[in-house]
Symmetry: C2
Amino acid sequence: MNKKLTTIPLSSPKSEVVCNLCELFGLCRVAGLNSGDDARLERIVSRRLQIKRGRMLFAAGEKFKYVYAVKSGAFKSYLLMENGCEQIVDFHFPGELIGLEGMALGHYAYAASVLESGSVCRMRITELPLSDTELMQFWQRQAEALSRRVHHCQSAFLLIGSKSVERSLAIFLLNLSERFVERGLPGYRFRLPMGREDIANYLGVANETVSRVLTRMQEQGLIAVSGRNIQLRVPVRLRELACCIET
Amino acid sequence: MNKKLTTIPLSSPKSEVVCNLCELFGLCRVAGLNSGDDARLERIVSRRLQIKRGRMLFAAGEKFKYVYAVKSGAFKSYLLMENGCEQIVDFHFPGELIGLEGMALGHYAYAASVLESGSVCRMRITELPLSDTELMQFWQRQAEALSRRVHHCQSAFLLIGSKSVERSLAIFLLNLSERFVERGLPGYRFRLPMGREDIANYLGVANETVSRVLTRMQEQGLIAVSGRNIQLRVPVRLRELACCIET
DNA sequence: AATTGAATTTGACTTAGATCAAGGCGAATC
DNA sequence: GATTCGCCTTGATCTAAGTCAAATTCAATT
């Protein structure tokens, strides 16, 4: 029944983001790129570290060391509760930063681990030998990145707070799509980097429900799913769903 | 049946936070307080503007002008969707900042309005005449405040993502309590600055449900409610509820 | 290619919470 | 003090989503 959907996983070398589409780029520039001092940059930024799926980048509360930028692959950040169960707070795709909040606070606010093997750049910020002017620029960029992050995080309220799972899922898929497009990846046909369980956890619903809603959406012709491969067939209708506009 | 609970509203003059418990204080210091240059500070910070309930501080997308710090009263920030309905993303109490994200972005990321009349300080940051060193400190403080904000925002995931409304509400109440205590206000007996509707909106449930769960909690002796006045009678049990520990 | 184990789908059943609709209470206004 | 309006509570009913369990598919490994 399902015609096989084949989409390229995010960890494919093809989909590695170029530096100027990476959120870290602004910081890299301050740290050496714009002065043309490549040697200095190299000392600070370790580029393209390969990381295997399942590995942990850092734990919640751990002393801050690096800011990570995703080059390829996919990552999640999450909070662990006293009772052992985890709450995913965000997913991270190529071009996006992980652990940023740790810098100003001195420790990581959440744990982060790898969903789909890939590569990261990481920046050892603490030992930056910078001038006051550079530092000023640096913290300003930092503030910008953090502001975007707050905004993103608040938008997630719409997603979780929404009445129907159908709606949450529509918003979720469109959001993934947008983020992929922003970094130059295909937006209407991609591979979900996370399992149903993780989607369910993030949206605050049961994984069976995610399954059911996905198949329902497929029956309605909105999307095509085959395992983790997904295609948004009628993005317009999805967008309507996301905004609760009646048909 | 209900013995009258009387609690002081947040807008009471008694509960106005002192400067050194205010999140803006770090920024104020950079902007003049630490140099002892009071005149300069006065030019930048307008102190204690009275604001009436229902008024709007700013709209979403509006050009950034001020960072606000709550002195007394209560505020909410929210996103408006295409279909007209709003999603509250945060409440703001004495000592807390509003609109911070706008600075780096150039425009406000959400709308903010007044729940309970009170007063604010506001800071006209854009025209700060500061040295590079001061600016560096300034943006660094900014980054710290924003990092805390991201953290706070992500913690809210636990609140909304949680299975039962009972749990969400427990977390919500404890969170309010903590925030009040941090600013030197009583933590176990306070007045809810927002209506049931707003709580429900924030938690992503129906207002009737908030009502029901509150009365249920009262029946169990966990809390005492009378209108907007509330008393946390067995904080320990509430905390257990919040962490899903079985009794 | 066969085996194993995990992830996903599907089904049957149960339940928490939404919705609709009255009724009660309290604070502001006259 | 009576009146009004908006907020809050309570009840009855309904439905979306949770839970438990079995079946199926997928992917990793030998």
